[in-house]
């Protein structure tokens, strides 16, 4: 296996009385796509928050690109792109009245060697809405703009929290192509998803989280086992609750 870009080791995290993570451990190999799967509330977004330095673990350690995300500076942040969860969150992290091109120009100004804004707009099929304010965009357009903001600084590692949620089929396939292109370019991708098809198609490495713990990790083939079950069957078996 190539070297490790992200290592989460025995992490515990609680919000008041609510336990979000209970000994979570997983790794993301460098230059690969790692899919973090889990039910709603399994701890996926909390795991991303820990990896980006937004949250502090109560116990355990997180290492991203060789550093503790809570002890990093501008140089480390330039290496890591973060796309927060948009669908249903109401907190996508973009000024509602900012126009698409303005938002992208702002984020590109934070980087020393950003991608060309116009080319990125064109690549993500956003040229037609470049002058529109964020709040007037459709869900799919917002999702693509958010991805563009994450990529414009040319990071080497990106965390994408449910990047294809709410996208129609065409947009989703286009997003997947882009993620494959990122991997081919040497970018490490860590994404959270509910979509088994997405993980099966894209992921070199899959991590399944349930109730704040890692219940399985490996390639899709390794998880499928000798009887070649589908990822969906494996996931359902690992994350089922007694009714």
């Amino acid at each position: 296996m190539s070297s490790v870009a992200v290592e989460v080791r025995d992490v515990h995290k609680a919000y008041g009385d609510t336990r979000a993570l209970a000994g979570l451990s997983w790794q993301a190999p460098e230059g690969a796509i790692t899919a973090v799967l889990g039910r709603n509330g399994a701890g996926k977004t909390t795991a991303v928050g820990l990896c980006t330095g937004r949250l502090r673990p109560d116990q355990g350690s997180v290492t991203v690109l060789g550093a503790d995300p809570r002890q990093t500076g501008a140089a480390w942040r330039a290496r890591v792109g973060v796309m927060p969860q948009i669908a249903g969150s109401g907190a996508a992290g973009v000024y509602p009245s900012a126009r698409v091109r303005e938002a992208l120009a702002l984020f590109s100004a934070f980087a020393a060697q950003p991608l060309p804004v116009d080319s990125l707009l064109e690549r993500l099929d956003l040229t037609g809405v470049a002058g529109k304010p964020w709040r007037r965009l459709s869900g799919g357009e917002q999702q693509r703009v958010s991805l563009a903001l994450t990529l414009v600084g040319r990071p080497e590692l990106v965390f994408l929290d449910e990047p294809s949620a709410g996208l129609d089929l065409h947009a989703r396939l286009s997003m997947w192509e882009l993620l494959e292109e990122l991997r081919a370019s040497g970018v490490t991708v860590v994404l959270t998803t509910h979509t088994m098809e997405e993980a099966e198609r894209l992921a070199d490495h899959v991590v399944v989280i349930d109730r704040g713990r890692t219940v399985a990790a490996g390639t899709v083939a390794e998880l499928a086992g000798n009887d070649r079950r589908s990822l969906q069957d494996v996931f359902l078996e690992l994350t089922s609750r007694p009714t």
Binding site: T52, G53, R54, A74, A75, R77, A78, R79, V80, G81, V82, P84, S89, G90, A91, A92, G93, V94, Y95, P96, S97, A98, E102, A105, L106, F107, A109, F110, A111, A112, Q113, L115, P116, S119, L120, E122, R123, D125, L149, L151, G153, R154, P155, E156, S174, E181, L182, S185, G186, V187
Partner: protein
């Protein structure tokens, strides 16, 4: 679709370039916001025009000499406190601050950009109000340096108060509270009505408000005596330090 080279080349831009871009964005959004412009430009200007010309209250003569310092203080409060509190509160709510925290832009750089944008708007406000005041027959005296010192101190005191509110309350609560405080301070801070209208005990309490200190200080500095009242400077400094320390300790970025 166009081929684009995503090969990683991560490096942060020079901090000044980042702060410059953030400042331009803050200014652009501020000037694009109709409610903000109403608060920062229209209300202070209208107040000056109406109170100078209409016999609404029994004000010291000449009325415009009494009104301009108060309206300048109101302009500072509207931009540094009310506008900034509301905008920052909603930036927190929409996750903008959280997302910016993942970029190379340092937190100090974000605060520098916000402060620069506030000062830039204040320059516009002061220029407009001075022109309107002069057109109404205002005859300013005193030291420009004293006036600038008071305006900067007032900006710091109101900005820290605004950030304290925005960083601790929900966005909707910040919106309501910032507007309420704006109205209360407008009426009770000596902006358009002299504090001498209030009884002794109440007046002494009102004099401790940041808006009252700024208004009184500007009025004294711009009067014929051209004196800089030390107690107003001290009052503004105390507000700036206390709210600044509280904001630094209590501000939550999300």
């Amino acid at each position: 679709m166009t081929a684009l080279d995503f090969t990683p080349a991560p490096a942060a831009a020079p901090v000044l370039r980042q702060v410059g871009a953030q400042t331009r964005m803050e200014l652009r959004l501020l000037l694009r916001n109709g409610e903000q412009l109403l608060l920062t430009i229209v209300i202070p200007t209208l107040l000056l025009l109406v109170f100078a010309k209409a016999p609404i209250a029994d004000l010291p003569k000449p009325r415009v000499d009494f009104l301009v310092p108060g309206v300048l203080a109101l302009a500072v409060m509207s931009t540094a406190f009310t506008g900034q509190a509301i905008a920052t509160g909603f930036e927190r709510r929409y996750g903008v601050l959280r997302r910016l925290a993942t970029t190379p832009l340092p937190r100090a750089g974000l605060l520098a950009a916000k402060t620069t944008a506030v000062l830039a708007v204040e320059v516009l406000q002061v220029a407009l109000l001075v022109i309107v005041g002069l057109a109404l027959g205002w005859s300013p005296h005193g030291s420009a340096a004293d006036v600038a010192l008071l305006l900067v101190l007032g900006t710091v005191a109101f900005s820290t108060l605004g950030l304290l509110m925005a960083g601790t309350l929900r966005a909707e609560a910040t919106l309501a509270a910032a507007n309420l405080v704006y109205l209360l301070l407008l009426v009770l801070g000596g902006v358009a009505f002299p504090l001498s209208d209030f009884g002794g005990g109440v007046r002494h309490v009102l004099e401790l408000l940041p808006i009252a200190a700024l208004t009184d200080g500007l009025r004294a500095s711009l009067s014929t005596s051209a004196s800089l009242p030390l107690h107003d400077v001290v009052t503004l400094c105390v507000w700036a330090v206390v709210t600044g320390v509280l904001a630094a300790r209590l501000f939550r970025w999300e």
